[in-house]
Symmetry: C2
Subunit: 417 residues, 2 copies
Amino acid sequence: MPLLKSWVASANDANHPFPLNNLPYGVFSTGEDDPRCGVAIGDMILDIAAAEAEGLIALTDYPLFDVPYWNDLMEEGPAVWAALRERLTALLAKGSKEQEAVEPLLVPMAEATLHMPLVVSEYTDFYAGKQHAQNMGAILRGSPDLPANWLHIPIGYNGRASSVVVSGTPIHRPNGQTKAPDAEMPSFGPSKRLDIELEMGAIVGTGSEFGQPITVDEADAMIFGYVLLNDWSARDIQGWEYQPLGPFQGKAFGTSISPWIVTASALEPFRAPTPPREKQLLPYLSGSKDGLYNIELEVLMQPEGADHASVIARTNYSRMYYSAAEQLCHHAIGGCAMNAGDLLGSGTISGPERSEFGSLMELSWAGREPFTLETGETRGFIEDGDTLTLRGNARGDGYTIGFGDCVGQILPAKAWG
Amino acid sequence: MPLLKSWVASANDANHPFPLNNLPYGVFSTGEDDPRCGVAIGDMILDIAAAEAEGLIALTDYPLFDVPYWNDLMEEGPAVWAALRERLTALLAKGSKEQEAVEPLLVPMAEATLHMPLVVSEYTDFYAGKQHAQNMGAILRGSPDLPANWLHIPIGYNGRASSVVVSGTPIHRPNGQTKAPDAEMPSFGPSKRLDIELEMGAIVGTGSEFGQPITVDEADAMIFGYVLLNDWSARDIQGWEYQPLGPFQGKAFGTSISPWIVTASALEPFRAPTPPREKQLLPYLSGSKDGLYNIELEVLMQPEGADHASVIARTNYSRMYYSAAEQLCHHAIGGCAMNAGDLLGSGTISGPERSEFGSLMELSWAGREPFTLETGETRGFIEDGDTLTLRGNARGDGYTIGFGDCVGQILPAKAWG
């Protein structure tokens, strides 16, 4: 598919993240206005709540967009999702007869504040990157051998929805309980091994019934879209708490997502297969579609006061072993109800080279081999004031599908006790 | 505190679970009516939505009770909770001048259907029973030694809110992935080791801010009330999946709660201390109040077709090592936001004797030592058609604070694949 041309000129640049081919969904406000739904096109945001109010978009008998989340649209299901995309494309295409009516409803993105694009119903994090799992095994257990179940199950655990925040939200370094290997007793204080995890987040659009499993193909059709996701992690808290029931406070102080939901439809041309199965999966985990996407990913780090950010990792979402559809199918296989707004973290995305590792734990090999930024500073883990940015782009024929950066700055721990 | 007498005669029986001292909160419907908030008093339910509509209860300028959940009241905070309890006590007390106005608003409980009493925001399950943790260690790892962190951290993990259901909801035996120790490959099918976990559920009433930790005393004041909670568990699925990130599908097919929220106020006379600390806790985990409650608990099992249920375990909530307030404090210590409607499972409650064990895994020692029901049948784990009931009572001076049974029948697994 080539670039689709828009009458919004900035959207026609081959490297712009928000061409007409993309049309990602966010929530924005300007000045004192209430946050409401918007659609990115070039350097502008279409105020879709206003477009609906003026009758330019009329998918349902009731309003869908004058709210600060996209969950209402998600619940309408794939036919309405497709109708909206078709209508938006018609309104914003070069030569549209409705340009004159739509033009006043565009807001410069530079003047807008972006908010959480959805209400996260529940958040689940997976562990579907093979290189990451092997690296963590080597670092933490002295062996890169995968856990016995890893090649059979898309391993996941439930996370905390209340700590998912939109890009730009500062994150305080968490206080918590840790124990040094040689200490007799645990101690309390700010985490000393603060980390990121480079992930994609899949957003469930249509739900499933309690007690009713789904197939991988059904799961694929239930996914509304994707965001970039930084699953901030306190490795020292996590290391002391996680046996036997998994990560808890080491992951509960913040999970950042990019502000625009890129729809599964926009990503359709970039589908990529999962790698060859090293062990045959059980039949319930088989689907008919390529479940990954070819999305180039970057991690950037900028210390406070540095004049620019350094790229510290570059990899690709197609490096994963399990797809979001496989994860979603497994999530519901015992009858767990899935709902609109459920967020599934892919797991940390790491490629085979060190330059492709998606966490500082791996990039600095648990802090033992600090890396150097372009500005000359070195890092093992995150220091106060550091800003971490995730960036993602799918490269098409003369156009780019971008996600909008997922940014977070780490602030000092709050005083306590 | 003695029995408080009500003009609802059935509420004055010393063994009735719903005297005026209790006043638990539920959601009910009759016939074709929409579910709405109700308060149990003796054998009756006060239609509190109707009482509010008629002006008999007026706590706020907007209605709180004509909805199928108690979350709106929770968000009003402790002063409004106390005002409501005071007003309900006055309306229903023997000699109330408003008896005539209130009487038509009572619905016989026998004619009502009970629904989920709250919208569960997020569900967290803990592991705070020491005997249970030791038993599980002995069964699964061959040693009753506690995990190294157990005496320092109220260990918890995030569960799945979407699978929390009200008492009476049937639960299908889950399908899932398991692997026998001697099998080369995993297989897929219905769980063969289906179990219960006897727990109390604490309901968070007022939330905490993202990034803002809380003290144990603040946490104690945030707890709105308690329910009985059965954390149904598929031990074979859990055993294969839980390393390294904890339980997932082994716990996601159903969690049952009792239909009435017993308020923390009603339980106040039954506060009980946590046992002596075997290791000194870090200061952030210290509070000024006794955080447990003296609540007698029973588990009953009834095979399909059996003419009565057999008691298979009897224990007490005060057997726990950590309180709900300690768990809630720890949950928020890194800055995780807590919200009205968050549900915290206590962890399985097991006392020191086998007759006090709160799961079949422990009662039958992993199925190796099946137990015998009064009807002569034996059980290692749950069989299709079995009904499991949790029951809880706090015994006061001439009165009882009951929870209403937490009941669930296991139905056969759904066909799949």
